[in-house]
């Protein structure tokens, strides 16, 4: 029971990060029907931006308050990464719109390779650590066997920031004209244009929002693990993509749900079975779910009544 609760906390933390990345995959897929393979690397890049901004804040500017530093780091990382997201769409995907279906996919893989290599060349191939930021832990209870169930401040921050941002994001998508334009383009781009919606601009905005949420995930990742490397885009990226597919690609709540499920499977499997096979477990669950629910947990069927 103690182990279970501890792993539940860990799993939800990890799942929050996956969920934030997964939204970027699912939104882009929803609007242009393309899997943005570069999204994991955008996430990795954002963690590097966060790292640099953090070092600038603490070492150069001498900001003593961790909370303030973290806030600045997150905002700057979101802005810079959003700009990357916008540029990537502009350079690598928009020129290929209207081309055959595989073209933007290949371009995305190329962009993924470019981003990880760019960071490797610019920042070096070694792991980049930061001094530990938030160390405190709340001990919830100590079990009879001496096992301590703890909730760290880091985990609280990660889950709280994720919840707040997802709420804001949900409000934007559901209640603002921007969100309605986004959903209209997702359902019928041709009709959206007939109603005066600038489809290209809406697609750009989708990439910007996806990248900004990935930057939140990147900042949280850096806060949680305290280390990042140029290769860190791949595995979390694939996991988040898996989360998006598991939840039902194109569905926003599905992306978050999928992220949490993948996070939980991973941590639970590590605790009760073997840590080496945690990824195998996560992907096996994906395969099994897709056999019985081909459109994911909250996804909608491919064919719609016309």
């Amino acid at each position: 029971m103690d182990v279970f609760v501890q792993q539940l906390i860990n799993g939800l933390t990890l799942g929050s990060i996956y969920g934030l990345i997964a939204i970027g995959y699912t939104m882009v897929f929803g609007i242009i029907g393309m899997v943005n393979f570069a999204h994991g690397d955008v996430f990795m890049l954002s963690a590097f931006v966060a790292l640099i901004v953090f070092l600038v804040c603490t070492a150069w500017l001498g900001i003593g308050s961790i909370a303030l530093a973290l806030f600045i780091v997150m905002i700057v990382a979101m802005l810079v990464t959003a700009l990357w997201g916008w540029t990537i769409e502009r350079v690598a995907y928009r020129p290929l719109r209207g081309s055959f279906r595989l073209a933007p996919l290949i371009s995305a893989i190329g962009m993924s390779i470019f981003l990880s290599n760019f960071v490797q060349v610019a920042q070096g191939a070694r792991n980049k650590p930061i001094p530990p930021m938030v160390q405190d832990v709340i001990v919830l209870w100590t079990g009879p066997t001496g096992y301590t169930v703890a909730l760290s401040y880091k985990q609280i921050i990660i889950m709280a920031v994720t919840a707040v941002l997802l709420t804001i994001f949900w409000y934007v998508v559901q209640k603002t004209s921007l969100g309605r334009a986004q959903r209209a383009c997702e359902q019928d781009r041709k009709m959206a244009a007939l109603l005066g919606i600038d489809v290209d601009r809406t697609i750009s905005l989708t990439f910007v929002i996806g990248a900004a949420l990935a930057a939140v995930a990147g900042t949280m990742y850096l806060l949680y693990y305290g280390v990042v490397s140029f290769a860190d885009g791949f595995v979390p990226g694939v996991k988040a993509f898996t989360a998006a597919v598991l939840g039902g690609i194109g569905s926003l709540p599905g992306a978050v749900l999928g992220g949490l499920i993948i996070g939980l499977i991973e941590t639970m499997w590590s605790a009760y079975f073997s840590i080496e096979y945690k990824d195998v477990a996560a992907f096996s669950i994906l395969a099994i779910v897709l056999i019985f629910m081909p459109s994911g947990i909250l996804g909608r069927p491919e064919v719609e009544k016309v």
């Binding site: 004209s177 309605r180 334009a181 959903r183 209209a184 359902q187 019928d188 041709k190 009709m191 959206a192 244009a193 007939l194 109603l195 005066g196 919606i197 600038d198 489809v199 909608r300 719609e304 009544k305 016309v306």
Partner: protein, 248 residues
């Protein structure tokens, strides 16, 4: 194609020598057409004549490869689709294309997004008066409504932007005769009360010709005939081709 019955003013919408292609296949073979302020103009023709292509060509999707399209004195031939819409042309397109996963209310909101929604409440009231059925269904998802209701929604959505020109593509398609009559009554009322300019594409030639001030007949991408609605209704050729079988 000068028409003696047309008012003398500068037309609101003008098409001159418009040619549209799908790949190498020609769909419109040089269309000339005018719609004047305050008119109901209809375009009739058989399946595949190019009527819907013409509607979409006005919006630049597909784009006319030759010829010019002018709206309110501006050349819109090469303008992006959303900018054409922003000149206050609205379309209820072929197949209705309502946003099925949005509520009726949200569909109307998207329709009103052009003017930033400043008149939203007022316009919502107005379309709900025109189509009381929509008022009952405001918070239902568009995709769950019947064909007739979806058609009403498509027209209502187009009206939300307060268009200067309303394009209607086959509003009667697949609907029960009673609903068709209702929709045609609405079009007439919009025109008479609000002075709305309407360009109507129809297969239901009898109703369309009775409603329209002027009409054009299209056969495989070419305008073959034009005149007032009453003239075409009495024309033996039109009768033979489009009104036989007493489809009214």
């Amino acid at each position: 194609m000068s028409d003696p019955t047309a008012p003398a003013r500068e037309p609101l919408l003008t098409l001159r020598g418009v040619k549209t292609f799908y790949g190498n296949i020609i769909a419109l073979k040089g269309v000339d057409l005018d719609v004047h302020q305050g008119e109901i103009v209809t375009l009739i023709g058989a399946n595949g004549a190019g009527k819907s292509t013409l509607m979409m060509t006005i919006f630049g999707n597909p784009r006319a490869r030759e010829g010019t399209i002018t709206f309110a004195g501006r050349d819109i031939t090469q303008m992006p689709t959303h900018e054409i819409a922003r000149l206050n042309i609205a379309q209820s397109p072929e197949g209705r294309r309502i946003f099925g996963r949005m509520t009726v209310y949200e569909n109307l909101q998207v329709g009103a997004s052009l003017d930033g929604g400043v008149h939203f409440e007022e316009d919502l009231e107005r379309v709900c008066t025109i189509f009381p059925r929509l008022k009952e269904r405001l918070h239902q998802r568009g995709g769950t409504m019947s064909g007739g209701e979806q058609q009403m929604l498509a027209i209502a959505r187009a009206l939300m932007s307060r268009p200067r020109l309303l394009l209607l593509d086959e509003p009667s398609l697949g609907l029960a005769p009673l609903v068709v009559k209702q929709i045609f009554d609405v079009i007439r009322e919009l025109n008479e009360k609000d002075g709305m300019t309407v360009f109507l594409v129809e297969q239901n030639a009898y109703h369309a010709l009775k409603l329209a001030h002027r009409a054009y007949v299209m056969v495989t991408g070419t305008i073959t005939m034009s005149g007032t609605g009453a003239e075409l209704l009495a024309d033996p050729q039109v009768k033979a081709a489009y009104l036989e079988g007493g489809r009214h």
